[in-house]
């Protein structure tokens, strides 16, 4: 037993080294290679995909580890995006010397609606992007999980919220109606026309993604991460151990919501608009597809899945606009039906099979296991 602990210690050091190496490679790819080889347009596109990846990391935690099928992340993505969008529009208007953003002027609105006013402050906006979705998710999560709403009911509830918010936004002309908010000219004082500033936005998204992955990695490896898996696999059992599963679930749900909001806030300036079409049911499901295909229980599966699916969507829809939707749907069905662990799970499976071959079958732990006799022997 001593030796097994020792090798485990060595493995831990090796694992830590691998982690740093992994983050190093990712940083080189995102900060070095991508800006060097991609055109300005493609880099900005990758920035958009990174926003989706940030949402995906949160979904991986809540759905993959926590078992909560979050079908309405568009709500939080939209909240972040709209809050950022409102600030950018006010800043643009102030720069021109106007009282209200351009689209309000066209509509004949002379005065800034009262709920817009706090977003004139950049500090308030940044704080609100983190705090508002977190608070909403915490309140909503506690209300739902304490009542033991779970599974499909939770999924339907979260999706209904996304649908409701999208409908609400379409009806509000004071926030752009179905057009949403668009034509942002500056980002905290930086002109968005300038390629250097657009590149900076991409770097911010890449940096945020790395931070978000590091946070979720820490959560997954902590005792909380183990507890979250326990809640996913046996919520009732956890209750009998003295935990309230609602409190455990709400943390993962809130973290996922916060990440989605930050991603939305980055999406708006990178892509140049935020609209109800980014909030509703369809985008919420689209977030999920990448996570499912990449492998929802792993750390990097959701990231690579989200980037891969978004990239494929762009690539194929440029050439075969109508076929891509079918291909994406088919891919989703195949993955969910045959590889529930996603492509990452497939990788693990192949690796295990390759490793199992030379050493024959894994050692069986059967009823005749010699260790089992210790129970009786130690009396």
């Amino acid at each position: 037993m001593r030796t097994s602990w020792r090798t485990r210690g060595a493995q831990k050091i090796l694992g830590r080294w691998q982690t740093w190496a992994g983050f190093g490679v990712a940083a080189v790819l995102l900060f070095g290679l991508a800006p060097a080889v991609l055109s300005e347009f493609r880099l900005s596109l990758l920035g958009k995909f990174l926003c989706f990846a940030i949402v995906a990391v949160g979904i991986g935690l809540a759905w993959g580890r926590g078992g909560m099928l979050v079908l309405g992340q568009g709500v939080f993505f939209g909240l972040g995006g709209y809050m950022m969008g409102m600030h950018l529009k006010i800043a643009d208007a102030q720069l021109r010397g106007d009282d209200v953003p351009d689209f309000m002027q066209i509509a004949g609105v002379r005065e800034l609606p009262s709920y817009w006013e706090p977003f004139a402050s950049p500090a308030f906006t940044l704080l609100a992007i983190v705090v508002v979705p977190t608070a909403i998710a915490a309140a909503l999560g506690l209300g739902v999980f304490k009542r033991r709403v779970k599974g499909a009911y939770f999924a339907i509830l979260s999706q209904a919220l996304a649908a409701a918010l999208a409908i609400l936004l379409v009806g509000q002309t004071s926030i752009g109606g179905s057009n949403g908010l668009n034509r942002f000219r500056t980002f905290f004082g930086f002109t968005l026309n300038d390629p250097a500033n657009r590149r900076m936005l991409y770097f911010i998204a890449a940096g945020v993604l790395l931070i978000v992955v590091a946070v979720v990695r820490q959560l997954m490896q902590s005792r909380y991460g183990e507890l979250l898996v326990a809640v996913r696999d046996g919520e009732e059992r956890v209750r009998f151990l003295g935990y309230d599963p609602a409190n455990i679930k709400v943390v993962a749900y809130t973290v996922a919501a916060c990440f989605a909001s930050i991603a939305g806030a980055l999406f708006a300036p990178i892509v140049g608009f935020i609209a109800p079409s980014q909030v509703g049911v369809l985008p919420s499901i689209a977030f999920l597809i990448g996570v499912a295909i990449g492998g929802r229980t792993t750390l990097l599966g959701p990231v690579l899945g989200a980037i891969g699916v978004a990239w494929a969507r762009t690539l194929f829809s440029e050439r075969f606009p109508s076929e891509w939707t079918y291909a994406q749907g088919l891919l989703f069905i195949v993955v969910v039906g045959f590889f529930p662990a996603g492509l990452a799970g497939l990788g693990v499976l192949l690796r295990r099979r390759r490793r199992a071959k030379p050493t024959a079958a894994p050692e069986p732990v059967s009823e005749t296991d010699p260790d089992a006799e210790k129970v009786g022997a130690s009396t």
Partner: protein
């Protein structure tokens, strides 16, 4: 802590001063059907009490009611703290632990992780957000007690059936439960595993209050210090194993249901209960 000289004996081994479980007039009403009615089950530390009875007698429902899983009336208290009406996780934190008929360990997690989770209900958020850096002494001790030390790093899902049940019992030990309610811990076990489980119960039962729901009469005879017989939700007999077996009311209940189906008696032979088997 588990290697003390205290042996479980009928009625408990340390008297009134210790931890105890007091159940009085426990009644569970499922829409007019009284699954459990007016059950008294007061146990002191060190009593290895078996709860037997034919199928549908309400044995598991009694455990469900004590642990807060189903609503009940009457009174349940542990060492003076009223438990009835509290939530499941609050009751668990008062030191009442249970296992289930089907072993319900977290199969994706390792044996060590299972135990670590069981030991951690009182952890602060800060501790939770950090990695487990070392193995708690109480967990090492529990691993040793349940004989799974060498399997600590294995996922619980690969354990044999008996080992899973032992892991569940180990989880109760590190949970610091001093009232243990075990629901058919030896169901589906081999003869050797039963023997080992019984010895395990004997070892841990000295310092705790253990209530075992069981169908297996041989197992009951071999390890119980006292027995409660339940039939149709009511206690019909309570005493030592020999006295209960000699009780004509118990024989009637078992023979009565045996006429409908002998499978209730584990071994399928009703006469086995009445005659002392060797």
């Amino acid at each position: 802590m588990t290697t003390s000289e205290l042996e479980p004996v009928a009625g408990g081994n340390v008297g009134m001063g210790s931890e105890y479980l007091e159940v009085r007039g426990l009644t569970v009403d499922f829409d007019g059907f009284k699954a459990v009615s007016d059950v008294d089950l007061t146990r002191f530390q060190g009593d290895l009490r078996f709860l037997i009875g034919p199928n549908g007698a309400g044995k598991t429902t009694v455990i469900d009611a004590i642990t807060g899983q189903v609503a009940a009336t009457g009174s349940v208290s542990k060492s003076g703290v009223a438990l009835l009406g509290k939530k499941v996780h609050q009751i668990a934190r008062h030191g009442v632990g249970r296992t289930f008929q089907t072993a319900s360990v977290f199969e994706q997690l390792t044996v060590l992780q299972n135990l670590d989770i069981a030991a951690g209900a009182a952890r602060s958020p800060w501790t939770l957000l950090r990695r487990r850096s070392s193995v708690l002494p109480s967990i090492e001790q529990a691993l040793d007690t349940i004989g799974l030390t060498d399997l600590a790093a294995k996922p619980a899902g690969v354990l044999a059936h008996g080992q899973k049940q032992w892991l569940e019992i180990g989880m109760l030990l590190v949970q610091n439960a001093d009232v243990l309610l075990l629901d058919e811990p030896v169901a589906g076990m081999s003869h050797e595993e039963r023997e080992e489980t019984g010895n395990l119960l004997r070892r841990i039962g000295g310092e705790r209050t253990v209530v075992v729901v069981e169908h297996d009469m041989d197992f009951m005879r071999a390890f119980a210090t006292s027995v409660t017989v339940l039939a149709r939700g009511q206690v019909i007999a309570e005493r030592s194993v020999a006295e209960v077996q000699a009780n004509p009311k118990v024989q009637e209940v078992y023979l009565g249901t045996a006429a409908a189906g002998a499978r209730d008696l584990g071994k399928g032979n009703p006469s086995e209960l009445i005659e002392e088997s060797s």
